[in-house]
């Protein structure tokens, strides 16, 4: 009788361990998430070298967009989606907003800009930051 009780207890204990093992195994199967959030914003600080003093914001943005389109096509233009969010006329400096997936594309295609509005110009990227606050700080704006 005692032997039977022991057998049942051992059986229950083994059953519990088996259940625990399988349940743990199921828990351990984790989904692998992409840690690099490609939608995260990136801000490129740039300045323009040119003999011309003033450029319009729309002119600069359209020349950047056309340069990206010429270099890697419409698909990468849509992915990177560069936008001129800030431009200081006097210093010829500004900030382009983009995302983590496309900032390298923009940096690579910027030298393709030879002219802005028919006047010779060179757009020089200075630095890339992850926050607008930092970008503004680097430009000396609060």
């Amino acid at each position: 009788m005692i032997q039977m009780i022991f057998d049942i207890l051992i059986f229950v204990w083994l059953l519990f361990l088996t259940m625990l093992f399988f349940s743990k195994k199921q828990i351990n199967i984790k989904k692998i998430y992409n840690k690099r959030n490609i939608k995260a914003k990136r801000y490129i600080i740039f300045y323009i070298v040119s003999e011309n003093k003033y450029f319009g914001r729309e002119e600069i943005e359209s020349s950047i967009r056309s340069s990206v389109k010429e270099f890697l096509g419409r698909m990468w233009l849509d992915i990177s989606n560069p936008k001129l969010i800030l431009y200081i006329d006097n210093e010829k400096r500004g900030i382009i907003s983009t995302n983590r997936a496309g900032y390298k594309v923009i940096l690579a295609s910027i030298p393709g800009i030879k002219e802005i509005n028919g006047k010779k110009a060179l757009v020089v990227p200075l630095r890339t930051t992850g926050s607008l606050k930092k970008a503004k700080k680097l430009l000396g704006i609060r």
Binding site: V49, L107, P111, K120, L122
Partner: protein, 181 residues
């Protein structure tokens, strides 16, 4: 030390400094930071150009035939071999092996097509130890900022480490190798 190895206009030195280059080598004018680029179809042309190139810091040969390329690799007085769209077809396996054997620096113009740059990056991993990418600008708007240069190489398939190496280290290393001025 960031060096721009090819400027076709002396007035661009100030612009290059503004972009962050600490030193620029200018085409055609004799001096410490000068270079002479010549095209050659045969050995005789290389020999004649090397003779008239005294006073230049760098002697760069742009070979147009296989024979000229072979002689340019072997000749120690030639510091760089210039490659672009017009003579890229010369870089076959035998020539690449010879470049690796002689550790000859090779200069690729950034104005070349993407096909040339993509293949040059591939060659840079296996055969060409001292690979240099230079802008060869005639006007200020043709200059390449260093950050753009690195990302341009990354887009064409280079690792970030190698893109940095080819932009920052190789030009300086190549200049020191040919320090006989």
């Amino acid at each position: 030390m960031l060096i721009e190895l090819c400027l076709n206009n002396r007035n661009l030195i100030t612009y290059a400094k503004e972009l962050g280059y600490t030193r620029s080598i200018v085409e055609g004018i004799k001096g410490r930071n000068s270079r002479l680029t010549f095209t050659a179809k045969n050995r005789q042309q290389i020999f004649e150009n090397v003779k008239r190139s005294s006073g230049f810091r760098l002697r760069v040969c742009k070979p147009l035939t296989k024979d000229a390329l072979r002689y340019a690799i072997i000749n120690d007085s030639i510091d760089f071999i210039s490659i672009d769209d017009s003579n890229f077809f010369l870089l076959k396996k035998s020539m690449l092996n010879l470049i690796r054997q002689k550790t000859k620096p090779v200069e690729i113009s950034l104005s070349s097509s993407s096909n040339v740059i993509f293949k040059a990056i591939r060659f840079g991993y296996k055969w060409i130890d001292n690979l240099v990418f230079s802008s060869c600008a005639k006007d200020f708007n043709e200059l390449w900022p260093p950050l753009s240069k690195i990302n341009y190489l990354i887009i064409h398939g280079a690792d970030e480490e190698m893109a940095l190496y080819w932009t920052y280290v190789t030009p300086a290393v190549s200049l020191n190798d040919s320090d006989d001025f």
